[in-house]
């Protein structure tokens, strides 16, 4: 369950933020992620950011995927 899509925060106004998802823009709530900043990517679920995406972890996961794929048996 739970469709959530990465969205880029472009602006913040109190507990609301303007986000951009590949050109699609919408106003959303940061009530669940008060630490989010402009420039962060958040996971957006039903108009609320549910977490700030950890870019470093994202990179590491990709590295792990590449390693596992090269590793063979």
């Amino acid at each position: 369950m739970c469709l959530a899509i990465p969205a880029l925060i472009k602006s913040i106004n109190g507990q609301q933020a303007g986000v951009d998802i590949e050109g699609v823009t919408r106003d959303i709530s940061l009530q669940l992620t008060p630490e989010a900043k402009v420039g962060d990517y958040v996971l957006l679920h039903t108009g609320y950011a549910i977490s700030v995406i950890d870019a470093a972890e994202a990179e590491e996961t990709l590295e792990l995927l590449k390693e596992l794929s090269e590793a063979g048996t």
């Binding site: 739970c2 709530s29 008060p34 990517y41 549910i50 977490s51």
Partner: protein, 369 residues
């Protein structure tokens, strides 16, 4: 208006077909012991079918779908309450699109709408708040479905209503929580699992610690998975590793979204507004400590406490085996109604209506496996 960023950042990279094929190769080489895996997340059900992952995995791996679809597990009696509310004068029902076609005992929200009920589909609880502001003379009832991913957003909406002194906003809380149902399914003893693909976005909220009992007490391998094909393959790979080594644990394969401690702010919002109670799971029955009820401090927002309704007697459709499908005991292919009387156009049970239900997935994406 705004610049277009790198194409689908944090999504596209996890769809790389070359990496995917290599990862599948690796899984094929390493998986020896039988690995019966269950996913507990409708989003995973859909992703697995959509990308045809079952066909691509080795025969040692069996994939089962559990009760991960909050729509599918909503009891008829609860849906009947929502429909009854819709028929009250001066009530606007706001609901996520998912629920609108689900059949209750006699009707559905969509049918109620055709009969004159004011039923509006919203994308966000915030949109329901807006409707409440714009219609002060009516009562706006939000049908609260979803697991721990969605519940905090509904809690936030209630707190926002309080802050904005909104007097006509109500929530019918049908929210449920995951770890208790996972335990309940295992305790039924109907399925013998080697591994569990843990829900992705529920875990963003609750973290990975709540699943520890599955590894410790039930000796089942666990991996929290994301939703792109590479995410799911990575989780399967991690589970195979755990199963092959005989060392079940709880791993987070979806590290860009999930931290072990979860989202503290979201959990706090949930705890402020909701308390745990029993919940009625379609096909499973009443499961203690598995649902969220609005606390008495916020009862003025609780639709269950503020309206007198008569939902009528509950009636489950004959021949529908959604219950055993939800428990992972049967597949849609074993249901006599599947594709005959129960189709997406005329769904009998919720597993066919919900976009994430097993039956809808089997029907839509065509599976004989």
């Amino acid at each position: 208006m705004t610049e277009i960023e790198i194409f689908m950042k944090f999504v596209e990279e996890y769809r790389d077909p070359e990496l995917g094929k290599k990862l599948l190769d690796r899984i094929h080489k390493r998986s020896r012991k039988p690995a019966r895996l269950m996913e507990f997340c409708g989003g995973h059900t859909v992703a697995i079918f959509k990308h045809g992952l079952r066909q691509l995995l080795p025969p040692s791996i069996e994939m089962l779908s559990g009760p991960g679809c909050p729509v599918c597990v909503t009891a008829s009696a609860d849906l009947d309450k929502a429909i009854a509310l819709g028929h009250l004068p001066d009530v606007i029902i706001t609901s996520f699109g998912d629920m609108v076609r689900v059949p209750g005992s006699r009707s559905s929200l969509q049918k109620a709408k055709a009969e004159g009920a004011d039923v509006r589909i919203v994308y966000s609880a915030q949109d329901a708040l807006t409707i409440a502001h714009e219609n002060p003379e009516k009562s706006v009832v939000f049908i609260g479905i979803g697991f721990e991913t969605t519940a905090p957003t509904i809690a936030a909406s209630i707190l926002q209503a309080e802050h904005e002194k909104l007097k006509n906003y109500y929530v019918l809380s049908l929210h449920k929580v995951c770890p208790p149902i996972m335990k309940a399914i295992l305790d039924l003893g109907e399925v013998n699992l080697n591994g569990i693909i843990c829900p992705g976005h529920v875990s963003v909220i609750i973290g990975s610690h709540p699943y520890q009992f599955l590894a410790d007490d039930y000796k089942i391998a666990c991996a929290v998975s994301g939703f792109e094909p590479l995410d799911i393959l990575l989780a399967v790979d991690r589970l195979v590793e755990q199963i092959e080594s005989g060392q079940p644990g709880v791993e987070i394969a979806y590290r860009r979204g999930v931290k072990p401690e979860g989202n503290r702010a979201a959990l706090s919002l949930m705890e402020t507004v909701f308390e745990i109670g029993e919940a009625n799971w379609r096909g499973i029955g009443v499961v203690p400590e598995s649902g969220l009820q609005i606390k008495s401090q916020y009862e003025k927002y609780d639709a269950g406490k503020n309206f007198k309704i008569d939902p009528g007697p509950t009636h489950e459709p004959k021949g529908c085996i959604c219950g055993s499908i939800l428990r992972g005991v049967s597949t849609p292919l074993e249901c006599k109604l599947f594709r005959e009387t129960c189709t997406p156009e005329h769904p009998v049970g919720p597993c066919m209506v919900s976009a994430e239900g097993s039956c809808a997935a089997y029907y839509q994406y065509g599976s004989n496996k």
